[in-house]
């Protein structure tokens, strides 16, 4: 679908192929395929109910897909489950930190789940907290932190075990505009610095950067997949909002 995958990137960070999933009656995902390369940020754009949450549930293995494959860092999630999960970092939509525990306790718990030794954990926690500018607040309880700071702790946590893929499920929900913008910038930096494949799900069009790859999901199907600039050019649209409207209208007409 996308032409500019360079020959060097033989292992895309995240590859989803022909993925379908249905709840009791409703089809939630219909033959979804895309890939996110390492070092780049892909925005998964879609309104509420488009299937973003289902996709995240499948990639994080809350459920197992009936059809299709998911590969993380070249490892098949179904066959090499634990190798694949070990390379996956996730920031869930709701805060998943323990409110009455301190920042460092939360991160230690996560390090234990990923099998880091005490020493490794201490080093990694310090590195990530410094990077998220949260090291000074490491002994504060999560409850005392504001929404933006909690998110930073969650990003630090998602990166503790040095994943190759970072999933973010509407990470800016509940943040003010300034924190949202700084988060968008920050995640883009991380993608390049750490050579991460970032998949960022959102329904907010203004979170899409011109340098991003864009995957438009609507009613369980991928309507478009490509670099933002290319898509805008192909559909002759001025901005992402217009592009999105065009795509969904085409879909309804079809």
């Amino acid at each position: 679908m996308r032409s500019n995958v360079s020959a060097v990137d033989k292992h895309p960070g995240l590859r989803v192929t022909h993925l379908s999933y249905a709840y009791a009656k409703k089809t939630a995902l219909d033959n979804v395929s895309f890939q996110v390369d390492r070092g780049s940020c892909s925005i998964l754009l879609g309104p509420n109910g488009a299937g973003k949450s289902t996709l995240f549930s499948l990639v994080t293995r809350l459920y197992v897909a009936s059809e299709g494959t998911i590969e993380v860092n070249g490892k098949n999630l179904r066959r090499s489950t634990y190798k694949a999960l070990a390379k996956l970092g996730v920031v869930f939509q709701q805060t998943t930190l323990d409110m009455d525990m301190t920042v460092i306790q939360n991160l230690r718990y996560h390090s234990a789940l990923h099998g880091l030794s005490r020493k490794q954990a201490r080093i990694r926690i310090e590195q990530e907290l410094l990077r998220q500018r949260m090291f000074d607040r490491r002994h504060e309880k999560i409850r005392q932190l504001n929404g933006g700071h909690r998110r930073r702790v969650e990003i630090a946590r998602a990166l503790l075990h040095q994943p190759s893929v970072l999933l973010l499920d509407e990470p800016t929900v509940g943040l003010d505009i300034a924190s949202r913008q700084s988060m968008v910038e920050h995640i883009h930096q991380l993608a390049t610095q750490d050579n991460l494949a970032v998949l960022w799900a959102t329904h907010l069009i203004d979170e899409v950067d011109d340098s991003d790859q864009l995957i438009v999901l609507h009613q369980g199907r991928v309507l478009a997949d490509g670099w933002v600039t290319e898509l805008l050019h192909d559909y002759n649209a001025d901005n992402v909002s217009e592009l999105f409207q065009q795509l969904t209208m085409l879909e309804q007409a079809a």
Binding site: Y23, A24, A28, S53, T54, S57, T60, R61, L62, Y63, V64, T81, Y82, K83, A84, L85, A86, L88, V90, F92, Q93, Q94, T95, T96, L97, D98, D100, M101, Q105, R108, Y109, H110, S111, A112, L113, H114, G115, L116, S117
Partner: protein, 264 residues
């Protein structure tokens, strides 16, 4: 292997820490059995004469009879409460953090169970300490013997709670389940009255109570507290644990179990 051990350690420490930091929960867990001991048992002692039945070798006051039942009650509530927190965790997401851990799901669930059992054992020992000063004293070695019994009964009741939590998708429903599970299980058991006493009034109730896993757990604890092993209770509790655990693991299996039906 080291990874497994570290994860287990992490999960248990988190659970203990969470329990200790929630003072309200700690207090509630203690007040409930103490109310039964200090008020209910005191009022009830004159209404019920207890004959000499094993493991006791003398006439005992009602408070002594009821104590193992209340220990069972602590574990029953704890088991249900920690699975309630699993339903809550699943809705709020921290269960999802646990489930993306690169370890087999059955192992993570067993860790969760061990963690909640550790919490319940802590509660039990605080209860036993208070009971000691209320003159309910078992032989000293009983306090050691009771440990493996508590581990087994705690795991069994926790597994039952976990099984229920895998069936129930919302917190509100779970409150209902608790009422329909906890009360019948507690009252239809040997926790408050010996089974032979129940047999006098109804053969049906007696049979139901006898095959109630909670009765067996309570008897296991009762005998252990006096340094004795109740083979039937041990076997029954162990088998119940295996059955509940397997069903719970099946219930949390991402492809075959009940998880996919959860999303509306």
């Amino acid at each position: 292997m080291l990874h497994y051990f570290r994860a287990l350690y992490g999960i248990v420490t988190r659970e203990l820490w969470r329990f200790l930091s929630q003072r309200g929960r700690f207090l509630a867990a203690l007040v409930r059995p103490l109310v039964w001991l200090f008020i209910f048992a005191a009022g009830f002692r004159s209404a019920l004469g207890i004959a000499i039945i094993p493991p006791y070798d003398t006439y005992i006051p009602y408070e002594v009879y009821i104590s193992p039942g209340l220990i069972g009650m602590i574990q029953l509530f704890n088991g249900m409460q920690s699975s309630l927190s699993m339903v809550y965790d699943r809705e709020m997401g921290s269960m999802r953090v646990l489930l993306v851990t690169p370890l087999p799901r059955w192992f993570l669930l067993v860790c969760k169970l061990l963690a909640s059992t550790a919490v319940s054992i802590m509660q039990v020992f605080v209860f036993l300490l208070i009971a000691w000063f209320y003159d309910i004293q078992a032989p000293l070695q009983g306090y050691l013997w009771i440990l493996p019994a508590l581990l087994l009964s705690g795991l069994m009741l926790g597994a039952l709670g976990m099984l229920l939590s895998s069936f129930v998708n919302q917190l509100e429903n779970f409150a209902g389940v608790m009422n329909f599970v906890i009360f019948p299980m507690f009252f239809l058991s040997s926790a408050l009255y010996p089974l032979w006493k129940m047999q006098e009034s109804s053969e049906l109730l007696y049979t139901l109570a006898k095959y109630n896993p909670f009765t067996q757990a309570v008897e296991l604890i009762r005998f252990a507290l006096y340094g004795k092993i109740n083979d039937d209770a041990l076997l029954f509790t162990a088998v119940s644990l295996v059955v509940f655990l397997l069903l719970a693991i099946w219930g949390y299996n991402p492809s075959k179990g009940l998880m996919p039906r959860k999303q509306g």
